[in-house]
C-alpha cells in the first residue's frame, strides 16, 4: 500500500507483483478509494481486469469495501460522502442487453448491430417525431426520461445488479452505464476498452487525464496490446467486404436521387477524434479524394480488389508495412494518406447513410481498419501472407496476417494520457520484462512474498513416470505411448488420492484433444471414471461454462471431478479453483507457445532486435507465466491448500533450478533460460527433492502433505501472517530506525545519499501534509 501511495503521489507508473489469493484486489481498491475520498480533486479510478468473472469479482469486492466504509464513517457528512460514491462495471451490449429479442442473439456482433439500429440518434429522432413509424428500444427510450447523472442511484453496482436494476425499472443497463461514465468514481471494465483503439475511441475518450488506471491480472497485457492492433484477413472476408462495398454504392445512388443534400454535408464534421491514436492524426482533415462518398466507395473497391489479388500467391510472403504500401502504390495508385483515414471515413459514411444491420458490414470495417493501421505505423508491424493453413495442407486457405510486434504501441497512448498507471498481477516476474516490453519507466517496481504459517501448497515437479521413462511434452516425444501412459498414470494416481476437484492443464488444445482420445483408448480414463467424474473444456464457451458449473456441483457434492482444460485457454483465465474446487492442479508439460508459428517467430525476432530479449528467454518467460497463472488459481486465502504438480522433464527443472542452486553455481551457469521464471512465491517452496520426482514418489509425498494439511488450520496466525495493530507499529518503528541508521551512514559517507530516497516511510507523510495545506 505504501508503494502504491508513493506511485499515486508521484503521479507515475508502477509494477507490482503480489501472490495470487492474498487479497490483491481489495488492498488496491481500499487504498485507492481512501485516496479518492480523502483528496478533494476526486481522481477517477479506471480499474481494468481481464475477464468478466474477474470484473464481477472486483465489483463485489468494491461493494463490500464501500459497505464497510459506510459502516465506519464517523460523521454524517462523511457517511453521505461514502454513500455518494459510485462504482460501475461495463461490458458489452451482449452481456447487458435485456431487450427480449435482441438479447436472444447468439453473437455479440449481431447484438451490437441490432441495438444500434434501435437506438442510434437518427432512428430515435424519427421515432420520437412520429411514434410507431420505426421500431425503438423501449428500455433505451425510458432512459431519456431521467436526468443524466441520476440514471442510477449512487452506490456500487455489480453487473448482475445493473441488470436487475434495468429489469426492475425498464431501463437499458448498457446505456445506463455508458451515460453514467462521466459521473462515476470507479469504472471497472476489461483491458480492451482502454487499449483497443477502436473501442477506446467510443468508450474511454471522456476520461480525464488525472484518472488512476489499474491493470489487474496484467501478466498478459502485452498480448492484449498486440491483439488490439493485429488483424487477420481471409478470402471469405474479402468477398464479403466486396459485397458490402457494392451495397454501399447502391445505397449512395439511391440516396442521391432521394436526398442529395444529405450527402453534401456529410463529411463536414469528420475530424479524427481518437485519444488512443497518436496526436498527429487527431487534427488532420480528411483528404479530398475520399471526401465524396462515391469516390470513397470506388477507392474501397480498388483496395479490396488489390488485397484479393495478393491472396492468390501460393507462397509465404512476409513484408513490412512500408514495402506493402509501396507495392500498393505501384499497382493501384492508392496513396498512404487517404488510406489512413479509411476507417474513420467509413464510419461517417455509414452514419450518413443510416445503414442498418451493421454486423453485415463487419468484414468491410475490418478491411478499413486494416488500411488505417497499415498506413499509420511504419515500425513494429509485419504483414504475413500464409497461403496454407498448415505445412502439409494442399488446399489453399490464404490468411493475410497483419500482425503487431510491439506491444508498447497500443499501450503508449494510455501511458501518455493517464498520469498513474498501476500494473499488477500474481505472476509478472521477472519484473523488468514488462517495462522493457511496454516501454515505460515505472516509479515503483516491487514484488511481494507470501507469508504463510504453514506451507499451504506443495509444488512438485514430476520428471519421470514410475517406470523411470522421462516425461516431456516436447513435440518429438509427446505422442510416444510411454509418455502418454505416464501422463495418464499421474492423473489416475492423483484421482485416487486427492479429494474433491482436480484441474489438469494441457499445453494446447490440439494436444489435449489427442491425448484425451488416446487415454480413452488405453483405458486410462476408465480408471479415472472409477474415482471421479470427468469434464473437459470444449471449443464452445457456453458448453464449457455448463461443464464448469457441473464440475463445481460435483465438487460441492463430494463426488469429486477432474477438469481437463488448456493453459491459455478459456478456463485458465479468470476462473478460480479455490478450496474444494481445486485441491490439485496438474500441468501436463510446459505451456510453450507453438514455435513453428510464423507470427511468433516474427515477434521473437522483433523482441531480439528491438529490446535485446532473447528468443529462449521470452519463450521460457511466457510459458512460465502461464503455468504459474494456471497453478495460482487454486489458492485463495491462507486456509486454502492445494497441490501443484508440474509434469515435465526439462522445462520446470531448469526453471526452478535457480532457486535451489547455490549462488556460485548460479553465476557460473547464469544462462538466460536458467533464470527462475516461476514467481518467487512458488519457487521458494520447491525443494531440491521435490524438483525431480517420479510419479510414485510424488504420490507418496502428496499423501503425506495432504494428511498434514487437512488438519484443522485454526492455529493462531497472528504475528506471522496476520498482523495486529501493535505488530504494524512495531514494524514501522523498526523501519524508521533503519532509515535513521541509513541516514547516519549517509551523513558519514556523504556520497550514497540517494539510495534511501525510497527506504523511508516518513518523507511521504510530510509531502502528504504539505499537499493538504
Amino acid at each position: 500500500m505504501c508503494d502504491l501511495k508513493r506511485t499515486l503521489d508521484a503521479t507515475g507508473h508502477c509494477v507490482l507483483e503480489m501472490p495470487s489469493g492474498t487479497g490483491k484486489t481489495v488492498s488496491l481498491l481500499s487504498l485507492i478509494v481512501s485516496y479518492q475520498q480523502f483528496h478533494p480533486t476526486k481522481r477517477k479510478l479506471i480499474y481494468c481486469s481481464r475477464t468478466v468473472p474477474e470484473i464481477e469479482k472486483a465489483l463485489s469486492e468494491l461493494k463490500r469495501l464501500m459497505k464497510y466504509r459506510i459502516s465506519c464513517a464517523e460523521t454524517p457528512e462523511q457517511r453521505e460522502k461514502e454513500e455518494n460514491f459510485i462504482g460501475l462495471g461495463l461490458t458489452s451490449r451482449k452481456n447487458l442487453c435485456i431487450h427480449p429479442e435482441v438479447s436472444k442473439e447468439k453473437k455479440g456482433k449481431v447484438v451490437d448491430a441490432r441495438c444500434r439500429d434501435l437506438t442510434n440518434s437518427a432512428v430515435c429522432e424519427k421515432g420520437r417525431a412520429n411514434p410507431g413509424s420505426v421500431e425503438l428500444c423501449d428500455w433505451h427510450e425510458n432512459l431519456g426520461t431521467h436526468e443524466p447523472g441520476t440514471l442510477i442511484s449512487p452506490g456500487i453496482w455489480t453487473l448482475a445488479d445493473v441488470l436487475q436494476h434495468g429489469r426492475d425499472n425498464g431501463t437499458c443497463p448498457y446505456f445506463t452505464v455508458r451515460r453514467m461514465m462521466p459521473f462515476v468514481d470507479v469504472i471497472i471494465y476489461s483491458f480492451h476498452y482502454l487499449i483497443d483503439p477502436k473501442v477506446a475511441d467510443q468508450v474511454s475518450k471522456e476520461l480525464s487525464k488525472d484518472a488512476i488506471v489499474v491493470f489487474d491480472e496484467a501478466h498478459n497485457i502485452d498480448n492484449v496490446c498486440i491483439e488490439s492492433l493485429s488483424i487477420d484477413l481471409t478470402r471469405p472476408m474479402l468477398d464479403s467486404a466486396a459485397r458490402s462495398v457494392t451495397k454501399l454504392g447502391e445505397k449512395i445512388d439511391e440516396i442521391k436521387i432521394t436526398d442529395a443534400a444529405k450527402l453534401q454535408d456529410d463529411p463536414e464534421d469528420t475530424f479524427m477524434a481518437n485519444p488512443a491514436l497518436p496526436d498527429d492524426l487527431l487534427n488532420e482533415a480528411i483528404p479530398g479524394n475520399i471526401r465524396k462518398a462515391e469516390h470513397f466507395v470506388a477507392f474501397l473497391k480498388r483496395f479490396v480488389e488489390y488485397l484479393k489479388t495478393r491472396m492468390r500467391v501460393l507462397h509465404v510472403v512476409a513484408e513490412t508495412p512500408l514495402s506493402f504500401l509501396q507495392h500498393l502504390k505501384d499497382i493501384t495508385y492508392i496513396e498512404r494518406r487517404p488510406l489512413r483515414f479509411c476507417a474513420e471515413r467509413l464510419q461517417s459514411l455509414i452514419r450518413t447513410l443510416e445503414v442498418n444491420r451493421l454486423d453485415e458490414y463487419s468484414a468491410l470495417q475490418k478491411v478499413a481498419s486494416f488500411a488505417t493501421l497499415v498506413a499509420t505505423y511504419e515500425k513494429g508491424f509485419l504483414l504475413i501472407l500464409e497461403p496454407f493453413e498448415t505445412d502439409n495442407a494442399t488446399v489453399p486457405n490464404p490468411v493475410f496476417h497483419f500482425t503487431c510486434l510491439d506491444p508498447s504501441l497500443a499501450i503508449k497512448p494510455v501511458f501518455e494520457h493517464f498520469s498513474s498507471v498501476v500494473i499488477t498481477s500474481g505472476t509478472i516476474s521477472p519484473l523488468d520484462m514488462y517495462p522493457k516490453m511496454l516501454q515505460f519507466t515505472p516509479v515503483v517496481q516491487e514484488t511481494y512474498p507470501m507469508t504463510l504459517t504453514r506451507n499451504a501448497f506443495l509444488p512438485l515437479v514430476i520428471t519421470r513416470g514410475s517406470d523411470q521413462v522421462a516425461i516431456s511434452s516436447r513435440f518429438e516425444v509427446r505422442n510416444d505411448p510411454a509418455v502418454v501412459r505416464n501422463f495418464g498414470s499421474i492423473l489416475v494416481e492423483y484421482s485416487k488420492i486427492v479429494p474433491d476437484g482436480i484441474v489438469a492443464f494441457f499445453p494446447s488444445y490440439l494436444y489435449m484433444e489427442s491425448i484425451v482420445a488416446a487415454w480413452n483408448d488405453m483405458g486410462i480414463l476408465n480408471e479415472v471414471w472409477k474415482n471421479k467424474l470427468i469434464f473437459v473444456e470444449t471449443p464452445d464457451a457456453n458448453e464449457t461454462s455448463i461443464a464448469l458449473e457441473n464440475y463445481r456441483r460435483a465438487c460441492d457434492n463430494g463426488r469429486g471431478a477432474v477438469l481437463l482444460s488448456v493453459a491459455r485457454g478459456k478456463v485458465s483465465e479468470g476462473i478460480d479453483f479455490d478450496h474444494n474446487y481445486g485441491r490439485a492442479v496438474i500441468m501436463f508439460g510446459v505451456p510453450y507457445q507453438y514455435t513453428e508459428s510464423r507470427i511468433l517467430k516474427a515477434r521473437l525476432e522483433y523482441l531480439r532486435d528491438a529490446y535485446r530479449i532473447r528468443e529462449s528467454e521470452f519463450l521460457g518467460f511466457d510459458a512460465m507465466r502461464n503455468a504459474a497463472q494456471c497453478v495460482g488459481r487454486v489458492l485463495r486465502g491462507k486456509t486454502d491448500w492445494g497441490l501443484m504438480v508440474f509434469a515435465d522433464k526439462v522445462g520446470y527443472m531448469t526453471s526452478c533450478f535457480d532457486s535451489i542452486a547455490n549462488p556460485s553455481r548460479t553465476q557460473r551457469f547464469a544462462r538466460a533460460d536458467k533464470r527462475a521464471k516461476l514467481p518467487r512465491w512458488i519457487n521458494q517452496y520447491i525443494t531440491e527433492v521435490a524438483s525431480n520426482l517420479s510419479t510414485d514418489m510424488a504420490v507418496t509425498l502428496s499423501k503425506l502433505f495432504m494428511r498434514t494439511i487437512s488438519q484443522n488450520p485454526n492455529e493462531n496466525q497472528t504475528g506471522v501472517s496476520l498482523w495486529t495493530l501493535e505488530d504494524i507499529e512495531k514494524a514501522q518503528a523498526k523501519q524508521r530506525e533503519q532509515a535513521l541508521l541509513l541516514e547516519q551512514e549517509g551523513q558519514q559517507g556523504a556520497d550514497n545519499m540517494d539510495e534511501d530516497e525510497y527506504g523511508d516511510g516518513g518523507i511521504e507523510d510530510e509531502v502528504f501534509m504539505n499537499v493538504d495545506l
Binding site: E61, G108, E227, S230, Y511, E513, D521, W529, E543, R552
Partner: protein
C-alpha cells in the same frame, strides 16, 4: 453350542429361512422350524458363486466336494444393499474356508471351476452361438439402478423404525465392536439389565450404523462401453446382462426408442441386439475415436441407420443449452465482452481441430452431468440461478477469505455484577495494593543477597526427590501381573460397573438429547436410578469376591483393592449422592429438576 460367525435371512428352494455360518457348519433353518434342514460341514465346501452386484437377486451358490450342484441361497433381507453386504460377509468367510480346504488338501479332486471369482449369476445367459450376442429379456423394472442411487437424504429416525430393523442394527454394531459385545453378553445375557437399558444412551452408535447402511452406492462412473471380446475365428462376442441393457438404454435414449419401435414386432430380442452391435449406430456410440476408422467395415442397416444422428463434432454443440447465469463462471460473457481482435491463434491453440475427439469430449461431459443429476436430481437452471446468484451475501462469499475474517471479535459476555460500586472500589483497592506491594518490594536486591539456604534441608529435599523417582521406576519395572483369568474378571467387573454408573448418571442428568427418542419421564428416571443404585451397591460384594479369588490365585488382595479403588470411589460417590437425594426427596417423590438444584 457352536458360536455363530454370521447369519442372514435367506431363502432356500423358495422357502424363507435363516442362513447361518457357525465355526464348523453352514446351515439353513426354515422359518418356524427348530432344526436346520441344510447343514454343510466346512470341509465339504469347494466352490462359491455369487450373483453380480446390481443383479435382481442377491444370490450365493455353494458348490460341494461331491456335489457340484450344491446349494443355492437367495438373500432376502430388504433393502437389497443390506442383503448384498450380508452376502459379502458370507462370501469372505466362505472364501477363507474354501481356500483353507484347498490348501490343506482335504479336497479330493480339485474342481475345474475358479474358486472365488464372481461368476455371472444364473440369470445371466451365456451366448448360445459364438457370433451372436446373447440376449435375454430385459427386466428393466427390477434392475433399475436409478432407484438405488437416490439416497433418501433424511436422517434415519430410530423411533420410527420397526423392531426388526433396530434389532439388526444392534446386532451389527455389536459384531463390529467386540468389547461392546462382551459387555452386552455379560450384562444383558446375564440378565442384569435389559436390552433397552443397555442401548439407552448408545443411540448414536445405532444412528451411525443406520446412516452408513442408508448411504447407498452411487452409480459407478464408468462409461457404458461394451467392449467386444474376440474369440477364435476372428468373431467377436459381447455378453449382455440386464445391467448392460439398462445402462445402454439409459445412456443412449435413442436405442431405447429403437427397442420400443422394433421389438418384438419387427425384430426379435436377440436379433435386435445382434443388429445393434453390428450397426453404425453402435459404432457412433462407442467411446473411441478409432471406431470412426472402422466405419467402412460396418454394414448398412436399414433399421438402425434411421436412428443415426450426425456426429456432434462441430465447434458449437448440436444441442443448444441455456446460458450459465452465474457471472463468476460464465466464460461466454468474457468472449463477448469485446469484439474479437488480433490474429487467429496458431494451429495448436485452435480448439476443436481434432474433429474426432469432439464427440468423445462431449460424451464425457454429458455422461458426467447425467451421473451428477442421477445423484443430485436435475435442478432446473432457473432454480439453480436462485440458489447461486442474486443475493448479496452469496456473491460476497465468493470473494471472502476465510483467514482474513476476524474470528476472535466476539462481543464477549457481559459480567453481571450485583454491586458495581463495590467492585469499582475494589479496583481502586487493587491499585493501592499494588502500590503497597511495590513499596514493599523496595530494596529486594539487598535482602535477596542475604538469603541463605540451609544445607540440611536442601539435602533432605533432594533425597526425597530421588526416592520418589526410584519408587516410580520400581513400580514401572515390576509390572503388576495379575493372572490372566483374574485380570479378565477384573476388567469385566470394571466395565460392568462403569456401565451401571453411566446408566445411573444418565438417568439423573439426562443428556441434552437431540435424538428423536422419547425422553423418559422423571418418575421413570428415578426408578431407573434406584435400580442402578441397587446394582452399584453390589459392586462392593463383587470386589470382595474378586479379592478372595485373588488370594486364592496367590495375588495380594491389597493390590486388587488398589486397582479397583478409583472405581469404588466413583461407586461410593454415586451411592452417597443417591442416598442423599432420596432422603431429601422424602421417599422417591419425583424431583422436578434434579439438575437445577445442584448448580
Amino acid at each position: 453350542m457352536p458360536s455363530i460367525v454370521c447369519t442372514a435371512k435367506a431363502s432356500y428352494k423358495k422357502l424363507p429361512g435363516t442362513l447361518e455360518l457357525t465355526d464348523s457348519h453352514l446351515q439353513w433353518i426354515q422359518d418356524g422350524k427348530k432344526n436346520p434342514s441344510v447343514r454343510v460341514p466346512h470341509q465339504d465346501a469347494s466352490s462359491l458363486f455369487c450373483s453380480k452386484e446390481g443383479a435382481a437377486q442377491v444370490r450365493l451358490k455353494l458348490g460341494l466336494v461331491n456335489d457340484d450342484a450344491g446349494h443355492n441361497f437367495t438373500f432376502t433381507t430388504t433393502p437389497q444393499e443390506v442383503a448384498y453386504s450380508e452376502r459379502e460377509t458370507f462370501k469372505t468367510e466362505l472364501t477363507n474356508i474354501i481356500s483353507r480346504n484347498r490348501s490343506s488338501g482335504v479336497l479330493a479332486a480339485p474342481t475345474a471351476q475358479t474358486p472365488k471369482g464372481p461368476v455371472t449369476a444364473a440369470s445371466t445367459l451365456t451366448p448360445s452361438k459364438a457370433a451372436t450376442p446373447a440376449v435375454l429379456p430385459a427386466s428393466r423394472a427390477s434392475t433399475s439402478r436409478a432407484t438405488s442411487v437416490v439416497s433418501d437424504g433424511r436422517t434415519p429416525i430410530l423411533s420410527g423404525q420397526d423392531a426388526a430393523t433396530v434389532f439388526r442394527l444392534r446386532k451389527r454394531v455389536l459384531f463390529a465392536n467386540p468389547e461392546l459385545l462382551a459387555l452386552h453378553k455379560e450384562l444383558v445375557m446375564g440378565g442384569q439389565i435389559t436390552e433397552a437399558e443397555f442401548w439407552d444412551g448408545r443411540e448414536h452408535l445405532l444412528l451411525a450404523e443406520a446412516a452408513t447402511e442408508n448411504q447407498k452406492r452411487g452409480r459407478p462412473g464408468q462409461l457404458v462401453d461394451p467392449r467386444p471380446q474376440t474369440v477364435d475365428g476372428g468373431e467377436v462376442k459381447i455378453v449382455i446382462t440386464p445391467q448392460l441393457v439398462h445402462d445402454i438404454f439409459d445412456e443412449f435414449p435413442v436405442v431405447a426408442k429403437a427397442y420400443n419401435d422394433n421389438v418384438p414386432n419387427k425384430l426379435s430380442e436377440a436379433e435386435f441386439w445382434k443388429r445393434y452391435f453390428q450397426s453404425k449406430l453402435f459404432n457412433a456410440h462407442r467411446a473411441s475415436i478409432r471406431s470412426s476408422a472402422t466405419q467402412h467395415v460396418v454394414k448398412e442397416d436399414p433399421i438402425f441407420d434411421k436412428y443415426l444422428e450426425k456426429d456432434d463434432d462441430e465447434l458449437e454443440p448440436r444441442r443448444l443449452r441455456d446460458e450459465v447465469s452465474n457471472l463468476f463462471i460464465n466464460l461466454g460473457a468474457t468472449l463477448e465482452d469485446h469484439v474479437e481482435t488480433g490474429n487467429e491463434r496458431d494451429v495448436t491453440m485452435q480448439a476443436g481441430r481434432q474433429r474426432g475427439a469432439l464427440p468423445l469430449i462431449r460424451k464425457f461431459n454429458e455422461h458426467s452431468e447425467r451421473l451428477l443429476n442421477s445423484a443430485l436430481g436435475d435442478a432446473p437452471p432457473s432454480k439453480r440461478r436462485l440458489v447461486n446468484g442474486g443475493d448479496v451475501e452469496n456473491s460476497f462469499s465468493e470473494i471472502e477469505y476465510d483467514d482474513l475474517q476476524d474470528h476472535e471479535s466476539s462481543p464477549g459476555i457481559l459480567l453481571e455484577m450485583q454491586d458495581r460500586r463495590r467492585s469499582s472500589r475494589e479496583v481502586i483497592d487493587v491499585q493501592n495494593a499494588f502500590k503497597d506491594l511495590l513499596s514493599r518490594m523496595n530494596g529486594w536486591e539487598g535482602r535477596f543477597s542475604q538469603l541463605k539456604i540451609e544445607r540440611k534441608s536442601s539435602e533432605a529435599a533432594l533425597s526425597s526427590m530421588t526416592q520418589n523417582v526410584a519408587a516410580r521406576l520400581d513400580t514401572k519395572a515390576t509390572k503388576s501381573d495379575f493372572p490372566p483369568g483374574l485380570f479378565r474378571q477384573l476388567t469385566t467387573c470394571q466395565t460392568a460397573a462403569n456401565e451401571f454408573l453411566r446408566q445411573f448418571w444418565t438417568s439423573i442428568y439426562p443428556p441434552p438429547s437431540d435424538l428423536p427418542t422419547p425422553i423418559p419421564t422423571a418418575a421413570q428416571r428415578s426408578a431407573k436410578a434406584a435400580k442402578m443404585a441397587g446394582y452399584l451397591g453390589k459392586t462392593h460384594e463383587k470386589v470382595d469376591a474378586l479379592v478372595r479369588a485373588a488370594v486364592l490365585e496367590g495375588v495380594e488382595g491389597n493390590r486388587v483393592v488398589i486397582a479397583m479403588k478409583p472405581l469404588m470411589d466413583a461407586v461410593e460417590h454415586a451411592l452417597a449422592f443417591h442416598r442423599a437425594r432420596s432422603t431429601a426427596l422424602g421417599g422417591g417423590a419425583s424431583p422436578e429438576k434434579p439438575g437445577s438444584k445442584l448448580v
